[in-house]
């Protein structure tokens, strides 16, 4: 039971990161290898911002500095959105008509660059992320039940941010002019061009969206897990990518669903088999999906209503 709550909460970060993979894949069929590392840099932006605001080393503060958290999340969202957009401009745009392998290799290069920026920025050892949220467990403190199951303020915080973000994304894709343009580009970019859509701008916007979600996930991750490290992007990226494939890469609803399923799976693996099996479980799942159902649970369909 405890594993389920942790799994759902972790599923929320994974889903947000998975959405970045799936949005980009849906629109230019690129597996953006650097996306997990972008998320890692997002946690560093949050850490640096909180440190600059004077909350870098706080442990269990009495009052949560909400204003600082708002600044940190906005900083990470903007940073990741802009950086992702720049990466597309510099590293992928020219290769759009090249063979599929070329942008993929370029993405791996960008991943290396991000990892090394991370290493240079916060050093090689794991960094503590300030613990700024109220230490409140609804199960024991509100309902007076003393069990192993905890649904803490942190869980609530993550879900209360992640779910509206996902619904917001669904709305953008379904109902806005830009969202419709995104779906048109995803389905037939040449026809989209003939409708008068500025395809380059739509692709830039898609990278910004993916980055913004990764930036938001970064603050949530930091506050929930209270640590970060420059290699974080690999594990996070692996899980999120698996989640995106599980849901059907390119399918937005699928990525969100896949995130939660994967979060649960990872957390159950850790609880019942041990932490060392977590990545094994995730990798095995990835291989199994790719072998038996490469289109994932819901198939590829950015064009679907969200």
């Amino acid at each position: 039971m405890a594993a389920i709550v942790i799994g759902i909460t972790n599923g929320a970060f994974i889903a947000l990161i998975a959405l970045g993979y799936t949005l980009v894949y849906g629109i230019i069929e690129l597996i953006n290898f650097a996306h997990g590392d972008l998320f890692m840099l997002g946690t560093f932006v949050c850490l640096t911002t909180l440190t600059l605001l004077g909350f870098g080393t706080e442990v269990g503060v009495s009052g949560t500095p909400w204003w600082a958290l708002v600044i940190a999340i906005l900083a990470a969202m903007i940073f990741c959105g802009v950086l992702n957009m720049l990466a597309e401009r510099v590293a992928y745009r020219r290769l759009r008509r090249a063979p599929r392998l070329a942008p993929l290799i370029s993405a791996i290069g960008v991943s290396f660059i991000f990892v090394n920026i991370g290493l240079f920025w916060q050093g090689p050892t794991p960094r503590r992320f300030p613990d700024l949220l109220p230490q409140y467990d609804f199960v024991s403190q509100l309902f007076g039940l003393h069990t192993l199951v905890r649904f803490t303020f942190k869980d609530l915080f993550v879900l209360a941010l992640a779910i509206p973000l996902m619904l917001g994304l669904a709305w953008v894709i379904r109902s806005t002019r830009m969202g419709k343009a995104m779906r048109a580009v995803a389905q037939d970019s040449e026809m989209a061009l003939q409708m008068g859509i500025d395809v380059d701008r739509v692709i830039s916007f898609t990278f910004v969206l993916g980055g913004v979600l990764a930036g938001a996930a970064a603050l949530m991750y930091g506050l929930y897990n209270n640590n970060t490290v420059f290699t974080l992007g690999f594990a996070a990226g692996l899980k999120a990518f698996t989640a995106a494939v599980l849901g059907g890469i390119g399918n937005v609803t699928g990525a969100a669903l896949g995130g939660f399923v994967l979060g649960l799976l990872a957390s159950l693996t850790v609880t019942y088999a041990g932490g060392q099996w977590e990545n094994v479980g995730v990798f095995s799942l990835l291989v199994i999906i790719l072998v038996f159902k490469p289109t994932g649970l819901l198939g590829q369909a950015l064009g679907d209503r969200a």
Partner: protein, 236 residues
């Protein structure tokens, strides 16, 4: 001056010269047809006009304006809309959204009269607005592709093989509708392998053979031409 002018256009796919110096004109209010057998370069001509292919030599002018330097996503704003070969509707969007995409480039946002016009021309489209476009039948998809192009309120409509793959009744219906759109004032450049139908509604025509225009005349004279009758109308 002609509304649309293609002047000495050479278009290549890599090293392959698909258009070897094409010139044609379309006057305001005309239906002009481009006929020719498979692989002659009809689609390539339309795609060059639509800006998705760039000619290596020659120019395309719309209302005297050189289009060869206009970005592809601005062509529709110059008054050219394209219903391409194979329809290429957005299969995973709704029928309504497909029509909205057709009007994407327009600045005036009141689309009601345009939707109404499409519904009047194609009543079957109206019944299927909420459906995913990919679930439409071939004929309905063709109507949607034409409707989507009309939503841009173009000055010239480029139609690439609207009869392809349709049952004879539907072919009749589609051609009648094209004629109706033209009577309402739309200029049409119609590409067809079905030369018989195309010549029956067009004012003038061009015959394309392996990237070159070999013949041009009024539609009735082309329909009576010996070479055309043998090669494209299936007569001995």
């Amino acid at each position: 001056m002609a509304l649309l002018e293609v002047d000495g256009v050479h278009t290549y796919y890599g090293n392959i010269e698909a258009l070897k110096g094409i010139s044609l004109t379309v006057e305001q209010g005309e239906i002009v047809t481009l006929i020719g057998s498979n692989g002659a370069g009809k689609t390539t001509t339309l795609r060059t006009i639509a800006g998705v292919l760039r000619p290596r030599h020659g120019t395309v002018r719309m209302a005297e304006r050189d289009l060869t330097k206009v970005p592809a996503n601005q062509i529709v704003r110059m008054g050219i809309a394209h219903s391409p070969e194979g329809r290429r509707i957005f299969a995973r969007m709704s029928v309504k959204e497909n029509l909205e995409m057709g009007a994407y480039a327009r600045n005036d946002r009141d689309l009601t009269p345009d939707f109404e016009r499409v519904y009047t021309l194609f009543p079957r489209i109206k019944e299927r607005l909420r459906q995913r476009a990919g679930t439409l039948s071939g004929g309905e998809q063709q109507m949607l592709a034409i409707g989507r192009a009309l939503m841009a309120r173009p000055k010239v409509l480029l139609l690439d093989e609207p009869s392809m793959g349709l049952a004879p009744v539907l072919v009749e219906l589609v051609f009648k509708t094209i004629q109706e759109i033209n009577v309402q004032g739309m200029t049409v450049l119609l590409v067809e392998q079905n030369a018989h139908m195309a010549l029956s509604i067009a004012h003038r025509g061009y015959v394309l053979q392996t990237g070159k225009i070999v013949l041009t005349d009024t539609a009735p004279k082309l329909a009576a031409n010996e070479m055309v009758r043998k090669a494209y109308l299936g007569e001995e």
